[in-house]
């Protein structure tokens, strides 16, 4: 059982993250920001899992806003149960290696683009452009995914 102190600290963390997006101190945020809030707290949900969670915290009649009142208990549960855990670095690299069928050690821009926009939970044009601009090695126009993963992995809070 978690101590009260630990839970209250979790509450504070959630409140802080929530407030960053609550520009008008109205105790509610735009539903489109909820994904960012959840992820910034260290969670790695898929889009499907995210939508489920949003459905849970939405109003009976969706208003486009999520209230802190409903968000807090749901998010506390997520953190306490350690749901949506991070993806370990090596698993991530393996995933890239699956896509890199020829085992070149890198992916062509077009290759990655195709996978990201056609498979799984597809990226939008904007998302994939942004990813490419960050991931592409300028000189060779390919993505060295091992480096990419190292560059972009954060320590868990």
């Amino acid at each position: 059982m978690m101590s009260k102190a630990v839970i209250s600290e979790i509450h504070r963390r959630i409140a802080e993250a929530f407030n960053v997006f609550d520009n008008e101190s109205s105790k509610s945020v735009d539903v489109r920001e909820v994904g960012t809030i959840i992820r910034s707290l260290g969670c790695f949900p898929s889009e499907a899992e995210l939508h489920e969670m949003i459905a849970e915290v939405e109003e009976e009649e969706p208003t486009g806003y999520i209230r802190f009142e409903k968000f807090l208990p749901a998010m506390t549960k997520v953190l306490m149960e350690r749901k949506f855990r991070p993806i370990p670095k090596d698993v991530l690299i393996q995933a890239f290696e699956v896509l890199d069928q020829e085992k070149k050690g890198y992916l062509e821009a077009e290759e990655l683009k195709k996978y990201m926009t056609q498979e799984g939970e597809p990226f939008s044009q904007d998302e994939v452009e942004e990813m490419l601009s960050a991931a592409l090695d300028n000189k060779e126009n390919v993505i060295f995914y091992k480096d990419l993963v190292s560059k972009m992995t954060f320590e868990d809070l």
């Binding site: 993250a17 008008e24 939508h51 489920e52 699956v98 799984g120």
Partner: protein
């Protein structure tokens, strides 16, 4: 992010059934997408936090200034003319004497200022021609400076025109089909040029409204002003300027405009500033389009009444931070007192007493004013009391302070009293127009964050718009990431035209185009092409580094207080505290309302099992230049906390704008500051500080050098540089 959970599952299933690339690849893609979206979310969070950091530090600074200003006011009211401290700051309160216009023109005579042969900048002739103004814009684009003679001439002509304008400009779209509205520019010349480039320059076919805050923070404030005035003179029916809260000489002292002008115009800068003081007070307060759209800089309050505003003598309010100077006849029949011959000091001291005595709902709006009085009442020592008595005696009043207050609150002089109330109401209206911010909740409360104006809610918007039969309120005053933002059911629109305001990449600027249908169209932009090409990660990085640097400076400035706070939690004196306590302590000391737990990983890099060696961490915060090692730690911290205040006081004291102050003035600055902060600073400590700086041969201190000597160097940075809004470089 539009599709629902089930739909994407279906899609995946279909793909699988078609046997496109196989399950492992699909799973791999899913994993990568999940990971990448998390990464982007983290970045977005950091970007938002950065924003909050800048904003909270900015607003804390504004609040700071108001407090300092009120402190001066208090001093002014309680020190006799003989007191040298008072002399030092008296001229900040000495507003333009009520002169006749002819006298003004003579004072600002430009005719005997010769333009040398060698001058390669633009030449202006009056009345201005289109090519004059085009040359001016071109010259500024090429970083040239306009000659003082032309500056003075231009300002004089502008003043003549502004005097004739009403408080509220009335504009119609039937004359000019479309009107362009720009928000805060804050000395960002590139943004103004960008707007002209994208939208075309003002002309009879192209009307513009510029909604205040043309100056301060950016480095080309004077150029922007000159361009705007030039266009206004050229097309008086098509270019409309509204006053912003930064069109105020007192605010300019702190936020860089004064410094900029003095730097660019060494000989005549002071004259130019004095003329601008007057010109700012003549700027119109609002613009109304087709009687339906109200445009003003800050906002409104529940008492906003355009009829009152329309009738005001707007030029009385040279600085909106200060109640208007006015005649007052002493109750009790001593009619020789209170004439403006005894000058503003007397008027204002009685006014201040008035505002305390008068028990009205207005009082809550001005708790920033009354608060400063209350703070000091207990601190008034014997010497001051004596001086106070002496002052009253000299002013011809024999009553005690207490009697004075109670006599004022009686109805004995109701006539003058009422006039005061009207003025005060008028003043309040103007302050509200220039300083207020919208809030999402209903109601209207004092704007404690900025220290002036109020926060107003959607119900107030509704009420005021209806009262005047308006449909939209356009305002500026707040930086928005996208350059514009709606609120209050799209009845209030904020427009902000200075891109990269906090730091390169921090935000876009925008302007509005409004046609006869009165539907706003937005055009956004960002000066500095390279920022557009930066990836999200890179631009977040730049801005963030800058924000964190500013934050670390704040932390450094509060080192002693932080140490005490940490030690409170470390009851066993281990030297370690939990991260949770770190966050709580930091917020308690800094009170910036920032998400410390979110920021923690950026500010605290070495922890062990969730615990922090706090003394080590404090030591790692930014270091100071070697010169300052002689100075007492606590004084040093005060120095950093009060940088802006200190610099403001210096510049006020430096009455001839030479950039130099004497040691005695330096000492008195610290004395002033120490009584404002209610702390003890010994003469010895001040001497130590002065000694640690190189004096000039004649024993004076160069203000810029002094400020430089105490610059913080951030350990984590390779090349220290400051965010563009805290420093105006020449």
């Amino acid at each position: 992010m539009g599709c629902g959970a089930t739909k994407s599952n279906e899609l995946q299933l279909k793909k699988y059934q078609r046997g496109s690339i196989g399950v492992p690849a699909m799973r791999a893609a899913l994993l990568i997408q999940r990971w990448y979206r998390q990464y982007v979310a983290r970045l977005e969070m950091r970007r938002r936090c950065t924003w909050h950091i800048f904003q909270s530090i900015e607003y804390a600074g504004e609040q700071d200034q108001i407090k300092l200003y009120n402190f001066f006011g208090y001093l002014m009211d309680h020190f006799t003319p003989a007191n040298s401290e008072r002399n030092l700051i008296s001229h900040i309160f000495r507003e333009n004497e009520i002169c006749r216009d002819i006298e003004w023109e003579r004072y600002f005579c430009y005719k005997n200022i010769e333009v040398p042969e060698l001058y390669s900048g633009p030449h202006l002739s009056f009345p201005l021609t289109v090519s004059n103004v085009a040359d001016l814009v071109e010259a500024f684009k090429n970083k040239q400076q306009l000659h003082t003679r032309y500056v003075l001439q231009l300002l004089l002509e502008s003043w003549k025109l502004l005097r004739m304008l009403p408080n509220i400009n009335q504009v119609s779209t039937c004359q000019t089909k479309e009107i362009t509205i720009c928000g805060d520019l804050h000395g960002h010349l590139e943004d103004l040029l960008l707007v002209f480039y994208k939208n075309g320059m003002p002309s009879v076919e192209k009307s513009y409204v510029f909604n205040g805050d043309f100056v301060d923070r950016g480095k080309d404030s004077i150029e922007i002003l000159l361009i705007l005035f030039a266009f206004m003179l050229l097309y008086p029916n098509n270019v409309h300027l509204n006053r912003g809260n930064h069109e105020d000489y007192i605010v300019n002292l702190r936020y860089g405009f004064t410094k900029e002008v003095l730097g660019k115009y060494r000989l005549h800068g002071k004259k130019i500033l004095k003329l601008l003081q007057k010109i700012f007070s003549w700027l119109p307060l609002a613009t109304v389009i087709d009687q339906k759209v109200l445009i003003l800089h800050g906002g409104i309050s529940d008492t906003t009444d355009l009829n009152i505003i329309a009738q005001a003598d707007r030029h009385k309010y040279v600085s909106t931070l200060r109640p208007p100077k006015r005649r007052w006849v002493a109750s009790g029949g001593n009619s020789t007192a209170g004439r403006h011959k005894v000058n503003g000091r007397m008027d204002n001291s009685l006014q201040r007493h008035c505002s305390l005595a008068y028990n009205s709902p207005l009082r809550s709006r001005y708790n920033f004013q009354s608060r400063s009085m209350q703070n000091f009442s207990s601190k008034v020592n014997l010497a001051v009391e004596e001086e106070l008595k002496e002052q009253r005696r000299m002013a011809g009043l024999s009553q005690s302070y207490h009697d004075l207050r109670s006599s004022l609150s009686s109805d004995s002089d109701s006539d003058n009293y009422e006039t005061y109330e009207d003025d005060s109401n008028e003043w309040k209206q103007i302050v509200d127009m220039l300083w207020s911010d919208p809030m999402p909740q209903d109601g209207c409360i004092p704007n404690e964050v900025r220290g002036g104006g109020c926060y107003w809610g959607p119900d107030v918007t509704e009420k005021v718009l209806r009262r005047h039969n308006l449909q939209l309120l356009i305002r500026s005053h707040e930086c928005k990431q996208e350059g514009y933002e709606f609120c209050h059911n799209r009845k209030v629109l904020t427009i902000f035209s200075a891109s990269n305001y906090y730091e390169v990449g921090s935000n876009r600027g925008a302007y509005i185009r409004l046609g006869p249908d009165l539907v706003p169209h937005f055009i956004q932009y960002q000066a500095n092409r390279s920022t557009r090409e930066l990836t999200l990660r890179q631009s977040v990085g730049e801005t963030e580094r800058s924000a964190l640097r500013a934050l670390r400076e704040q932390l450094f400035a509060h080192k002693s207080d932080l140490l005490y706070a940490f030690q409170d939690y470390d009851t066993d004196n281990t030297g370690w505290i939990s991260l949770k306590h770190w966050a709580t302590a930091v917020e308690a000391v800094l009170r910036l309302g920032l998400p410390w737990r979110v920021l923690r990983s950026q500010l605290v890099t070495t922890t062990q099992d969730g615990m922090l060696d706090y003394q080590g961490w404090l030591r790692e915060l930014p270091i100071t230049e070697p010169k300052t090692e002689l100075v007492q730690q606590s004084l040093l911290e005060t120095m950093y906390k009060q940088r802006s205040n200190l610099e403001t006081i210096f510049r006020i004291i430096d009455s001839d704008h030479s950039g130099l102050i004497s040691f005695e003035e330096f000492r008195q600055t610290w004395k002033l500051l120490s009584s404002h902060l209610k702390m003890e600073i010994s003469d010895e400590a001040i001497l130590d500080m002065a000694v640690s700086i190189d004096f000039n041969k004649d024993g004076s201190i160069d203000i810029n050098e002094f400020m430089e000597a105490f610059r913080l160097v951030d350990r984590t940075m390779n090349l220290p540089s400051e965010p563009n809004h805290t420093k105006t470089d020449e």
